[in-house]
């Protein structure tokens, strides 16, 4: 917990750290969880017992532990999927409070966003006339759009972690994934026209507080509008499939 606390302090300190370092403040997602509740079981499972070293990173990165390097691939995949699910719940369903969301974002990971982007792009290209163009459009739109949104926040004078922002925007694609799947499977216009706006609103609701907290108060709308535009564009693409 202590290194996470240190990260929180580091994230809060402004202007004293190197700029490049500040962009990538938080550690990537690590197996030891931060949130209460749902995190307990997976978190306890793979922390090395009594280890004072940093917990094992997910993909066999550090040599500090032998557990993850030796384990079967299926174990690794299962653990990653569990983590993605956990992060998803904390980021996209922040019903109780937002602190879980901040905790999840401090342990950002990009596997979840990648899965959701690919899922969205594949789903939308299934229902389109020109599949490859649609796929490239959606993928480019999300990836470049997320980067541009983060740059936009920094340019407006805000402080935001680059990968944390990418992580948030990627996870918040999950409702749009659901919308895309439904739109591809059904032709009933009414269902589409009801579901897609709800999903767009949900995506925006999950990510707005994080983004707006990063910029000065009188520029909140300037930072939020492009994000809403992005989700609306993706929702529209799902709608007209």
């Amino acid at each position: 917990m202590s290194f996470l606390g240190g990260n929180a302090a580091g994230f809060g300190a402004s202007g004293r750290r190197d700029d490049v370092e500040r962009l990538f403040t938080a550690d990537p997602s690590v197996p030891v969880s931060t949130g209460a509740g749902a995190a307990a079981a997976p978190g306890g499972g793979y922390a090395p017992p009594g280890s004072a070293l940093s917990p094992p990173l997910g993909y066999g990165g550090e040599a500090s532990s032998m557990n993850t390097l030796d384990e079967p691939v299926w174990e690794t995949v299962k653990r990653d999927l569990r983590r993605i699910y956990k992060n998803l719940v904390m980021v996209v369903f922040p019903f109780k409070d937002r602190s879980q969301q901040s905790a999840a974002l401090r342990n950002w990971d990009l596997w979840g966003p990648m899965i959701f982007v690919l899922g969205l792009a594949i789903t939308l290209s299934l229902g389109a006339a020109t599949a490859s163009k649609t796929f490239s459009l959606v993928f480019a739109l999300v990836s470049v759009g997320a980067i541009i949104l983060t740059v936009n926040v920094v340019l407006l004078g805000g402080t935001i972690g680059f990968f944390q922002s990418l992580c948030l925007l990627g996870y918040c694609l999950f409702p749009l994934d659901v919308a895309a799947i439904v739109c591809v499977t059904t032709d009933i216009l009414l269902v589409r026209w009801i579901l897609v706006p709800i999903m767009v609103v949900w995506s925006s609701w999950a990510s707005i507080p994080f983004i707006s907290g990063a910029v000065p108060a009188n520029r909140r709308a300037l930072a939020i509008y492009p994000m809403v535009l992005l989700y609306t564009a993706l929702g529209w693409l799902a709608l007209i499939t």
Binding site: A128, V151, L155, P226, L229, A233
Partner: protein
């Protein structure tokens, strides 16, 4: 709108001469202080003194700012002058936000530079003009609430914060000014040396999305009106190429045409910065956003009328806004330039109508 008596740019030495006019009111200002300091310090102090004195009766909230500017006269340090700048600039350039101290962390330093940029606008093109407010900053950032953006390396995005130094109210005001008050032609003075690139970029992006969406909507309506009986809605597919075309058209128009115009203006030695040109072009495109939504209506005459009207208003806006710098730089030689600008803008309107909203009598494939 601007109560800044020095809004029309004058080169810095004039401020030294005007200082005695504000002297009796300005407090302990030594004339000896002006030649010693760097070029922009007497400029800013005089600018602040006069602006503060002129506007203090009007804005009660700036009482603290006026108070803190007194020591600025005597000490003439960069820090205190920057501390007083938010109140001066908040009286000058803001719209309806006297208590814009919330923006203090970001605005002080670029605002100083933007005041210096005014001088650049009139006198010379300035090699650092493309960076807007950053070129005029000479003093160190000691004690400034936010770091001076120009001290970052060119690849660090924080360096370009001076180009995004606008609040929500600023952007909305500029949008309204460009779309509704297009006939005034004072946009460059209105942005007061603080052009922003937020407006152009996001107006163009919004326009891309809106035209692609509206174009596809129009195509869908046309398809439902002309489809053979009995076919389901699965027969219509949206055209992804339209989105790609949108990207090229709007980003290209603002970016490339703006860039070319900037170089032409540089050649004519007009003192307009690249950011200002992009700002004008970007906000001009905002007129097309409501138009695209209206163009969903499948009546040709309505579409033509509406696109024509938007092209006229935005074209007028661009021409009137850039007329003053072009005229004073090029005079009669500017006629081909005017014709080029008008032709390009008409081309944009035409492309918009024909590429996105041409569906009336085309048989569907």
């Amino acid at each position: 709108m601007s109560t800044n008596p020095f809004a029309t740019s004058s080169p810095p030495p004039v401020f030294g001469e005007q200082a005695p006019v504000a002297g009796p009111v300005g407090g302990a200002w030594g004339p000896a202080s002006t030649p010693l300091d760097e070029e922009d310090e007497p400029f800013t102090a005089a600018h602040l003194a006069a602006a503060n004195e002129a506007a203090v009766p009007a804005v009660g909230g700036a009482g603290g700012g006026a108070g803190s500017s007194r020591p600025a006269h005597t000490a003439l340090t960069f820090t205190e002058s920057t501390a007083a700048v938010p109140s001066a600039s908040s009286m000058g350039g803001r719209v309806g936000q006297p208590s814009s101290s919330g923006a203090a962390p970001v605005s002080p330093v670029p605002r100083v530079g933007s005041a210096a940029d005014q001088a650049l606008l009139a006198s010379s093109p300035g090699p650092s003009a493309p960076l807007g407010g950053n070129g005029g900053m000479a003093g160190g950032p000691a004690g400034a609430p936010q770091e001076d953006p120009s001290k970052f390396a060119f690849y660090n995005i924080k360096r370009y914060r001076g180009l995004f130094n606008v609040d929500t109210s600023d952007v909305l005001a500029r949008l309204l000014h460009a779309v509704l008050l297009f006939f005034r032609g004072d946009f460059l003075q209105y942005t007061d040396g603080n052009p922003d690139l937020y407006g152009p970029f996001w107006v163009a992006s919004t326009l891309i999305f809106v035209t692609a969406a509206a174009g596809n909507c129009a195509s869908y309506i046309d398809w439902t009106m002309h489809k053979p009986e009995g076919s389901t809605s699965a027969g219509w597919y949206y055209d992804v190429d339209k989105v790609g075309g949108s990207f090229g058209l709007f980003y290209g128009y603002v970016g490339v045409v703006g860039l070319i115009l900037y170089f032409v203006l540089r050649w004519f030695k007009a003192g307009v910065s690249l950011a200002s040109v992009w700002c004008v072009y970007g906000y001009a495109l905002a007129a097309f956003i409501p138009i695209s939504l209206v163009c969903v209506v499948p009546i040709e005459s309505v579409r033509w009328a509406v696109v024509g009207a938007a092209t006229l208003t935005s074209g007028t806006f661009i021409m009137l806004s850039l007329r003053a710098p072009i005229h004073e730089a090029a005079g009669a030689k500017a006629l081909p330039l005017y014709i080029g600008m008008i032709a390009l803008h008409a081309g944009l309107g035409l492309a918009l109508k024909l590429y996105f909203f041409r569906y009336k009598d085309i048989p569907m494939p």
